[in-house]
Subunit: 439 residues, 2 copies
């Protein structure tokens, strides 16, 4: 890595977040195609991309240039669904299905976050690892505990990552030790938490987080729906992940026409604010139409849906329909924090779905997987996930170890294989979020 | 890591490959269960395990002890199916199915190995990476080229890894540039290669390698069958990987009762020597019976079968039937060299098979995946893959990074999660093969 200046001239723009990155630049031109510029210039003014250039336009001379040599420069990635408190037991208990796994592993672990000492240590490890990962933006579940959730937000704020964080709501159908004392108490805590956090951070924002229908009473859902309307907040939850879960929701809300309707009924399905629903493995045609009409985001979590034997979501169908789709690691349903791995997993399961279940939907390509992890999920944060002019500049510097290959590879080949090799070869050596250099 | 001596006494055994390893030791007690000894002693005499002890028996005092502190000590792993020349393009072209992928990526790359300079460079990278991986034993496809195959064997010999390597045979149904000049020429080259390599190495042995039925004429198969009988050689090939491939074999060998029979007909299906068949995704009941009767090894390659959209082999069925099964990365059908990843992939696809295709066969557990990668595949090499008394001592020293967890983990939990986290956290810091320390 070499630092230099592209020359100085009068009136040049010189803020902290105005600079040029030089290297092998790749981003999604469209869902189907990479835009590749070898040894190109990525121009950033005040944290916003001014585009990628083969030759540096005269008007940007004077900006500091960081030359990353032969490295890859890729857009930052958005993890649309991740549970921070579950980071501790990722890779454990992977032989259970969803509802049993929640009882056996998840709820006992989440109850530990009533102790602030534990939360400080555990969230400290999580935030540090997240900072060092390929993720530049994330939408995160915490636990029911207000103080620990605030602590997580403080820690995340310090990393420079851009995140939404949710204090979880749950007032039924879970062990005493993790059940809030009724809808009223849950809503009170949520209001206090919103007062403590809304507009208080530069990088970190609250998001309403009813865990899922089975653990939230109608009264709680009703109250959360009102909060969303009142404060125009985003929301996140789980949808149609597992067959037993779907049956359970039908029992709990016999009036609902589909699982999604059990959120929509309370206004918590995209009508009153940006909403993410994780999984959508088994969404019916009716549910898909509702997702479409309400502009709900789908967080596709391929590794989690595999580890918990849930199934495989029809992502190609969602993409072709023009729905809003991104990827989620769903730690600890998914064991791996890497969004590169998440892309590879999304491609992998789409092939098995095609082979084993339904040949009407073709597998995802590398380009499509990359798009989902960058532009797809990034759009939840605004103009994020691309290097096109006008996008917030989130960038990864990747030394992919391509020199350990007997023959030269094109930049496109290097990007494609890094999706698969990220855990074995090469490493992430630099990261920018909204124009700020994290490392 | 600390070196010390456990004391000296008269008559103690002190060969180079006699020593004691101390640490957190875990291996397969059975398919279903781990044997775990915290801070235990693994005793090795002349390269052979004398078992694992909580307290060091008096008789072994005097042997040098290497104390690996808090690290995990695990059995080495066997990769039962891997193509060395394909290492160069792993992670590329993953949007094609088998037969198209062979034409487009595999055959052009393999043709480069007629140039020894290229082979030296490419195989040099492969062997170095394999040495640094979790693999202690491997069964490897080279190419049709005798000199390059010999070179690969020379390079592998120097690593200390124990391997079988095959010069590939193919005399039909492939591009001119990779087709041997008839069955006679292919057999002549094979004989020359056997003369050059049989019994010439300490760690490296030749294995007969007809690529697969479609690329081998009856005459070639006949000749290879005779060679196997004559020299009592092991053999390896591919079986029932892809539906189009199976149809093709049926066309080429209308007389065969199943794909496996197209090998068995020529004696190349386990009757005359240990034989490995990779994949067995679609083996019929008749084929499975033939595999069982002939004691053929199945190399299950979960990531490759996913990447090439082949399908998912019913490994649980094979295990329950008592067949000989191990795991293979199948580079470059699989993109990852790590056998830990291979275990995680085997577990993952077994869950998707259960969910999407056939609930009569339960998913694999972590214990079973671990067993397949150690004892399952290891048994192809003899008593390999366990620390029980009498096994050749192949061991991995793993610093799994468990200290980056907010709460203490048991050794069993650490092993379980490392199957999933190997690419993200922790690292392999030491390796022994048959009692020889590689690093």
């Amino acid at each position: 890595m070499h630092f230099c200046h592209a020359g100085r001239r009068e009136g040049s723009i010189m803020t902290k977040q105005s600079f040029i990155l030089k290297g092998n630049i790749c981003y999604s031109k469209s869902k189907e195609e990479f835009a590749v510029t070898e040894q190109g210039y990525l121009v950033c003014i005040d944290g916003i991309s001014q585009g990628v250039y083969e030759r540096l336009p005269e008007q940007y001379a004077g900006l500091p240039v960081t030359d990353y040599g032969d490295a890859l420069i890729l857009p930052g990635m958005t993890d649309l669904h991740i549970h921070a408190p579950q980071y501790t037991f990722r890779g454990l208990g992977m032989d259970l299905e969803l509802l049993e796994w929640l009882e056996t592993h998840t709820f006992p672990e989440e109850s530990r976050y009533q102790e602030m000492e534990y939360a400080k240590k555990a969230y400290g490890i999580f935030t540090e690892d997240l900072k060092n990962s390929a993720t530049t933006r994330a939408v995160i579940f915490a636990t029911i505990h207000r103080p620990a959730t605030k602590l997580l937000m403080d820690q995340l704020e310090a990393t420079g990552l851009k995140t939404y964080v949710g204090k979880v709501n749950m007032d039924r159908n879970c062990a005493d030790y993790l059940r809030e004392a009724g809808a009223g108490a849950s809503l009170e805590e949520t209001k206090k938490w919103l007062e403590e956090t809304m507009g208080r951070y530069q990088n970190t924002k609250p998001i309403l987080t009813p865990r899922f229908v089975p653990t939230c009473s109608d009264e709680l859902m009703e109250g959360l729906g009102q909060l969303q309307k009142q404060y125009q907040l985003p929301a996140q939850s789980h949808l149609s992940e597992n067959l037993s879960e779907i049956d359970w929701v039908k029992e709990l809300c016999p009036w609902s026409t589909c699982y999604g309707d059990a959120y929509d009924h309370f206004g918590l399905f995209g009508k009153n604010g940006n909403t993410i629903m994780a999984h959508c493995v088994y969404s019916s045609e009716e549910e898909i139409s509702l997702i479409e009409r309400n502009g709900v985001y789908i967080a596709h979590c391929p590794q989690s849906n595999t580890n918990l034997s849930s199934g495989i979501a029809p992502v190609r169908k969602y993409l072709d329909r023009g729905l809003k789709v991104g990827l989620g690691t769903d730690i600890a349903g998914g064991a791996n924090l890497s969004m590169f791995r998440c892309i590879a997993d999304a491609i992998a399961v789409s092939k098995l779905r095609w082979r084993l279940a339904d040949q009407s939907w073709k597998p995802l390509t590398a380009e499509e997987g990359f798009y989902l992890a960058t532009v797809g999920g990034g759009s939840f944060f605004g103009k994020v996930g691309s290097f096109e002019k006008g996008y917030e500049l989130d960038a990864l510097i990747v030394e992919d170890g391509h020199e350990r290959c007997a023959r030269p590879l094109t930049v496109k080949e290097r990007v494609e294989r890094y999706l698969y090799l990220a855990g074995e070869q090469g490493r992430l050596t630099g990261k920018y979020v909204a124009g700020q250099k994290l490392f």
